[in-house]
């Protein structure tokens, strides 16, 4: 077990009921945290408590259950906003990062992006920060270009600056890459983009769960992340936007809750953030998200980060000596988040994942929703081991052991 001065992993592990489970008779070693994380008992309890004690639709009912549910829902909004240094009024609950980027595409993009405008994304983006901009470019007649990467897997700042000279309307990029692990310098990029007159949208799906993030100092216009990747339930995430932008944008989905008044030929909109929360929201999801943020706040995000850096260092030591092991992304662990994408000899990632699964080790294999990046790296797939608060050195040892087994089977 990891004897970290920062996080008591054994205590943390006891909070996650799933970690008691066996897979193929082996201890579950869950290293697929970048896809989704496991949930502590406190998050599960928050859901059970909600459904067993005060489940109700929010914002609509004056009865006690309705008031309690509304309070808890709005309280979670305040918690999540505070967790990243944002205001509750700027914090829109959505299904996840993907819905957030699409919301911006429809409600901001379709209104402000004009024919011939330039949209800039990067080659390290997740599909959720590419496909909406392709669709927007198509519908508005705009042009989409990509910031290139350095050989080390960082954003090529020369390429970015070249594109900024073309005065883009929008610059879309990830705070952390879900494959390379690269931590991008959000504050600098946003400052440059703003000087170039561009609006910025930052994909925080892999940063907020793993690093201390203070939006007040980053300067992004829009910032998105998902609850399920940070101990929260599935089906909930947030889009945080500058208030003025949210107010000026068109609505996204139309329906209950987002309206002020409905007439036969037109309607008027509710205040932000409600203007973007049409229909019955994922009340339980939001409440569970609040509980997840409480859990992480108790641990402390600086400690979470430090814990992951230790695991990364340990994993590099343990794995890079394996013959045929090749990792992607920056080598300096200070520049990357707690995941390692790699390939191992000619063992295809799917085959490796199957062999590891038999040892109880869950990793992700495939293109990681980053096909443009896969083409940059000239691979069709990679393995990815991604760490979180409950992972230990033992987990890394189990991973190494499984890879060695695959090496034996494949006669590497």
């Amino acid at each position: 077990m990891l004897k970290s001065e920062t996080i008591d992993v054994e205590a943390v592990r006891r909070d996650f009921p799933i970690l008691k489970r066996k897979v193929h008779g082996k201890r579950l070693v869950y290293l697929d945290n970048a896809a989704t994380t496991q949930k502590p008992q406190s998050v599960i309890d928050a859901l059970v408590d909600y459904y067993s004690r005060y489940n109700s639709n929010v914002h609509r009912s004056v009865h006690t259950l309705g008031e309690e549910a509304t309070e808890a829902y709005e309280d979670s909004r305040r918690k999540v906003a505070k967790f990243v240094g944002a205001q509750a009024k700027e914090t829109v609950f959505v299904r996840g990062t993907t819905e957030a980027t699409n919301l911006v595409r429809f409600a901001w993009g379709e209104k402000y992006v004009k024919k011939g405008d330039l949209i800039v994304a990067t080659l390290m983006e997740h599909h959720s920060n590419i496909v909406p901009w392709q669709l927007l470019a198509k519908s508005r007649g705009a042009v989409l270009k990509y910031v290139g990467l350095t050989p080390d897997g960082e954003l090529d700042m020369g390429s970015l600056e070249g594109l900024l000279r073309e005065s883009p309307r929008l610059v879309a990029f990830a705070h952390c890459s879900n494959v390379l692990g690269t931590i991008n310098d959000v504050a600098t990029i946003c400052t440059k983009a703003r000087s170039a007159g561009a609006t910025t949208i930052v994909d925080g799906a892999q940063s907020v769960p793993h690093l201390p993030v203070d939006l007040a100092s980053l300067g992004a216009d829009f910032y998105a992340f998902s609850g399920h990747k940070m101990l929260g339930p599935t089906g909930i995430g947030v889009l945080i936007g500058k208030k003025r932008l949210l107010e000026e944008m068109d609505p996204f989905e139309g329906g209950g809750e987002m309206i002020r008044e409905v007439f036969e030929d037109h309607s008027t909109w509710n205040d932000v953030p409600h203007k973007f929360e049409a229909g019955t929201v994922n009340v339980a999801g939001a409440i569970g998200f609040g509980a997840a943020v409480d859990y992480l706040s108790r641990l402390g995000m600086d400690k979470v980060r430090e814990h992951e850096v230790r695991l990364l260092d340990y994993a590099y030591d343990a794995l890079s000596s394996l013959k045929g092991f090749h990792a992607y992304g920056p080598e300096d662990t200070k520049k990357r988040s707690g995941l390692i994408a790699f390939n191992y000899a000619d063992v295809h990632p799917h085959d490796l994942a199957t062999i590891l699964d038999e040892e109880g080790v869950a990793i992700r294999s495939g293109h990681h929703c980053a096909q443009l990046l896969m083409r940059c790296l000239d691979v069709s797939a990679t393995n990815r081991a991604s760490f979180y608060v409950y992972n230990s050195y033992d987990d890394v040892d189990a991973l190494r052991h499984g890879i060695e087994k695959a090496g034996a089977i494949f006669k590497v």
């Binding site: 909004r77 009024k89 008044e261 509710n270 205040d271």
Partner: protein, 137 residues
């Protein structure tokens, strides 16, 4: 506090016989708002008199006893006061008018709708912007 206490004689009286209900022929300030969550509506009109005082004030609206009574009571309180006074009106003042009932958060919004409309109108007239702290979140 039970609902029998919330709905005291006084509130019911203001609900059924609202004071200052109606429209002004001439006015300097007009403001309107609805509570999107329940549909309650209040509109207020103010004629500004000498030394920037509230010379005349009337309201119309529809909604629950609490929203209509509190709006009506507030117009009574406001009448004759300097416009600047409106800046200092706080929700506690409204609650006091209503007899400090024990209202849940959604009913608090009913109670404060009139104050919100009053402030929005007067702040606008004074060249300021009223940002409702109890607003949407």
């Amino acid at each position: 506090m039970s609902s029998a206490d919330i709905y005291r004689e006084l509130i019911l009286d203001y609900y059924r016989n609202p004071r200052n209900f109606g429209k002004l022929e001439k006015f300097d300030i007009q403001a309107h708002d609805t509570n999107p969550l329940c549909g309650d509506e209040i509109e207020m009109q103010i004629r500004v008199g000498g030394e920037n005082t509230i010379e005349e004030i009337k309201f119309t609206g529809k909604g629950c006893a609490i929203s209509q009574a509190s709006a009506s009571m507030l117009t009574e309180l406001a009448k004759g006061k300097p416009l600047e006074w409106v800046r200092q009106v706080a929700k506690e003042d409204v609650f006091k008018l209503l007899g400090n009932p024990d209202l849940g958060p959604s009913r608090v919004k009913c109670a404060l709708l009139g104050m919100k409309v009053l402030k929005t109108g007067v702040y606008g007239y004074l060249g300021a912007h009223y940002d409702d702290p109890d607003g949407s979140v």
